[in-house]
Structure formats: C-alpha cells, structure tokens
Assembly symmetry: C2
Homo-oligomer: 323 residues x 2
C-alpha cells in the first residue's frame, strides 16, 4: 500500500495520458458502465464546513475509488486553505487498499481542468484566434494551462471583474516558466465584449449567479466550456445563448439539467432536454458534435465521479509500474 | 497526520477507557446528539464483494470519522481475509485529516465486543454463576474476553453446533496467556439447555437465521446480549423470549426494530416498539434497566456508528498525547 503526499502526486501527473483516460471515462459514463451512488454529505455549523464523500467504480475495472473532500470556510483566518481532501484507491478484486492519495484537492482541480481540455479537443473550431478565460481563480489558470495540450494557439484574453485579481493571475502565469511550452501572449480585460469579439474558444470558470455572457455577444464559430455552475443558483451563460447554440453538450445530462447551465435553459423552456447530448457520446461519435467552423457549441461541465476514478487510477497504476 | 498499522493500533487500545467512551457515545446517541447519515454501499458481482462507507460525528466534538469496510468473499481462496477496512479521523474544526487507522476491521471487532461489555455492565444480575457464549467465531472469543472488565466471574460455557470449532476456540483461548487476567474455567457444550441452565449472563454471537434460544429455556435473573442479528433475516432468540423478558434494550431502537432481534418481536406482535428502551437511556438512568436479580433482561445490539466514532477518537487522542 502506497501513501502519496501532494508533492509526490504532482510529479506523477501525465496530462497527455490523463486526456486519454478522461475521454475513456466520459465514454464509459455515457454508456452506463460507471457505478456512482449518491454523494454523502456532512455539514457543520460552528465553525462552518461541508464534507462530500464520493465513491464509485467502472464495472469490470481494476479499482474502486473513494474521495473525501471538505471546505471549512474559516480556515483562511487560521492561515490554512479552506479546501482539503484525499482519494483512496482499492482493488476491485479483493477490496484491499492500494493507495492513499493525499491530494489536498489538487487531483480534483486537475481532473476538472483536463475535463475542460477534453471538451475543447472535441468541440472547438479548427482555428483558434484567441483563448478567452472568464474568471481569475485556480480553475481559470488551470483550464488555460491545459488547453495548450489540445489546441494550437498562443494568444489569450483573461476577463475579470476586478483588475487587481487579473493582474495577480497574469503575474502568476508570467512568473511560472513551466506554465506554457511556447511564448504565451496574454491580454487582460474587464470588458466582456472585447473577449467575445476576439476569442472563439472561451472557458467560463466563475461562481457567478447571473449571466456573464449574453446570447448576442457570441460570434458564430465559438466554442464555450462553462464549468463554474456546479450548484443550484449558479449561472454564467444567458439561457438565450443556449437556445442560439447549435450543439449543446453536458458531461452528465442528468446533473447539468439539475444544477448546471443547462438547468436555466430547460427551466425557462428555451431548450429541451432532448437538445442536450453527452460529452461521452461526442467522443464516441464525432458527427454528433461540431459540424463546421460556423457553429456555436457549448459544453456544460458539472464534474462527474468518473473523472476522479480515472485520475486516481492513473496515479495508482503508475505507482504499481514504478514499483 | 499519523498513519497507524494494525499492530500499532493494537498497542493503543485501552479497554477501560473504551468502556467509558462507548458509554458516553451511547448516551449522546440516545440524546440525538450524533449525526449519522445513511450508510453508503458499493456492490460487486465478479468477484463478489460489498463495501460499506459509514461516517458521522458527535455535534460539538473535536473530530468526524469516516469508516470504509469491505467483504470480498473469494479472498480466502487467495489466502487473504475476506474482510478489510480502515478509519479516517478528521478535525471538526478545520476538516484536516488527523489520522488514518489501517485497522483491517480490528477496531470494529473491538468496539462491537466492548459494546457487549457495556450492555452487561448495566444489565447483568449482581452475581454471575457462569458466562454463556453462543457461537465460536471472532466475536464469540472477543465478547467473552471483554466481559472480564465488567463482571467478576471466571467460569464460562461455550456453545457451538460443531464440536471441532468449539475445540479450536477453546484451544485458542488456552494458548493465549493474555486472554484472561485470572484463571478461566471453560466448559464446552452442544446442548443449549446445559448453557441456559448454568449461565445467567449469555452472549449470542452467531449468524443464525432461526432461534437458538427459546423462551422456556431461560431462567429468571438471566441477562442476554444478542449481537448476531445485524441484517434482515437473522435471528438468534425466540420472539416469545422477548415477550417473556422484563427489560428490552436496543443500542438503536430504530435499527433493532428494522433488522435486529427486536424486529421479530415487533413484527409478530409479541412486543411493541414502546416496550424497547435504548442502552444510552439505561446508562443515563439506571432505574430504567434491571430492577432486581430475578428479572430477565435482553440487549439487542446491531452496532451504531457512534461506537466507530468513539474508538477512532480514543486512538486519535492517544496519538496526539504521545506526540
């Protein structure tokens, strides 16, 4: 049995391999071959905190995975991060614990960002003028970084409400020589029109509760991956944009209809559930996705447990190979 | 963060302390101060296996606990034990992981056996003629061993269906110099009448699916702890015995009515739900329990998550003190 710290884990992540593994995971999920029971919750009042316990497995696979992730919102006052977590990988043959990945939520961040890259790989137009990143948090940076593995474009525009936060993010990127393999040209803006007029691959990564991008702002030929809406009440895209789009893709149709961007479209009657296909279906049959470079495509990502299973299995597999 | 192996854990168990901690736990549980969400399950077909994920906390306490326990029934063919498990102890203040207890189900076995000792401590008659143990498995041995901490009796009678299994158990006990602090006199029998006529403190520990002890076999002044019935369809005691008994105690009334011994009494109409009190109530108010040495008392134990919380917290606390 192996126990890995965050620093040890970081050295084991192979983004190319993970893209392939997540593609496989999304396909298996959409084929109904992933067992994911309902998430377990613990809620604390004083101090305030939430714990999510997620667990599942791919049928006939080598492992099953349990993830425990927490948010304790007073932690920053104590000088420690609010979020924490770990993943446990067990054998599906014997139930024996194979590895403990003390990832402090890093693997969740990576699998989320690589999920965005997988969506862009299968849905973005053939030529990217510039990448647009909406938001300035951890995922804003990570989603951008992962896109270099799937598209050939070295221009990006970062949008944020707050100029100082954009500056922190841009400086972070510039000071990290490993961030981008070539030279990345970064522009910053607080004007969404500037971003949408210049970018045809956009990723939204905010916890917004009202639309940031309206239907009439989006040019033909744009792909948008929206990953901020992971709970009821959150919304980054105007429901009219969903109606305007040519292809609507969800990582999990059931989840996106319940609390993703798609929920606002379905609830307002501007789209129907049948308009939405799953990412796993598009990966399996590319004809279901973008048909030409003039279409607008939207991928809604709420996060699915098979992403956790696949990243934990990848690391666990590398541990076995290295031993 | 500490990680403990089974051997390290075994050295940290203080039975006296654990009895006190479980008493406190049962009381808090019966006062509604323990948060225990529904158990999570994973089921595997090939090879067959079950995983239970249990988690919870005492409100206002220092920690929360997650337990993952599995049974993979083909393991013995591979020369490894069918059951396995671990407990994770997290801070209720920050969510940070404090310890990983790789107990391989040992802590579950201990907390279950000490739960039996707690029931005997509060419900057994004042003088024990002999301890009767029904069954020859792991719990049969452990329940017996734990009773020396709560009653002053060095005579026991072990009942089993299978003479060979009884012999194995008796030899195991005799070869373990740490099993009993004084000299333990052990008799073995396959005759339940012999056990019930000679013992006034009885623990049933079998996976029986039909009653092993009938109402007319039990003498006045006997206490029985039944811990075998932890699932629907299991039964060790005749429902008529529940009707005959003077005091009926459940570790969890809700659970015992659903799938413990009490379920057979309630379902047959021989007892009503209102006849059953909880162990935590008896610990809190001894007048609710045995009133004299002629009463028959029965404790039904299905196992409650607060036992896991308390044993994990005890070990975690000792780790902190030792550091």
């Amino acid at each position: 049995m192996e126990i890995l710290s965050l620093n040890q884990l970081k050295k084991l992540i192979d983004i190319g391999q993970l893209i392939t593994d997540l593609e496989e995971g999304y396909v298996l999920y959409s084929e109904g071959r992933v067992e994911v029971p309902p998430v377990g919750f613990l809620n604390f009042e004083d101090p305030p905190g939430d714990v999510h316990i997620k667990y599942g497995y791919i049928k006939g696979d080598s492992v099953y995975v349990v993830k425990i992730a927490s948010g304790f919102y007073n932690n920053p006052k104590l000088g420690i991060s609010a979020s924490d977590g770990l993943l446990l990988v067990f054998s599906q043959q014997t139930g024996k614990l194979e590895s403990i990945l003390l990832d402090e939520c890093y693997l969740t961040d990576v699998r989320t960002a690589v999920g965005g890259a997988v969506a862009a790989k299968h849905l973005a137009p053939s030529n990217i003028s510039a990448i647009g990143i909406v938001g300035t948090g951890v995922q804003a940076k990570m989603q951008l970084q992962m896109l270099q593995h799937v598209v050939d474009c070295n221009n990006c525009i970062i949008w944020g409400r707050n100029s100082e936060k954009i500056e922190v993010m841009v400086n972070d990127i510039k000071q990290n020589p490993d961030f981008w393999s070539k030279e990345l040209i970064i522009e910053a803006t607080t004007d969404m029109n500037y971003l949408t007029s210049n970018c045809n691959l956009i990723v939204t990564t905010t916890p917004a509760k009202a639309p940031l991008i309206m239907a009439d702002q989006v040019r033909p030929g744009t792909h948008i991956t929206a990953m901020g809406s992971d709970d009821k009440g959150k919304q980054e895209l105007d429901a009219g944009l969903l109606e305007k789009a040519d292809v609507l893709v969800a990582d999990s149709r059931a989840q996106c209809i319940q609390y993703g961007e798609m929920s606002h479209g379905v609830n307002s009657g501007m789209i129907s559930e049948d308009d939405i296909i799953e990412l796993g279906n598009v990966i399996n049959d590319i004809s279901l996705g973008r048909k030409n470079d003039d279409q607008i495509t939207i991928a809604d990502q709420t996060g699915v447990a098979v992403q956790d299973i696949q990243i934990a299995k990848m690391v666990n597999g590398l541990l076995k190979t290295n031993n």
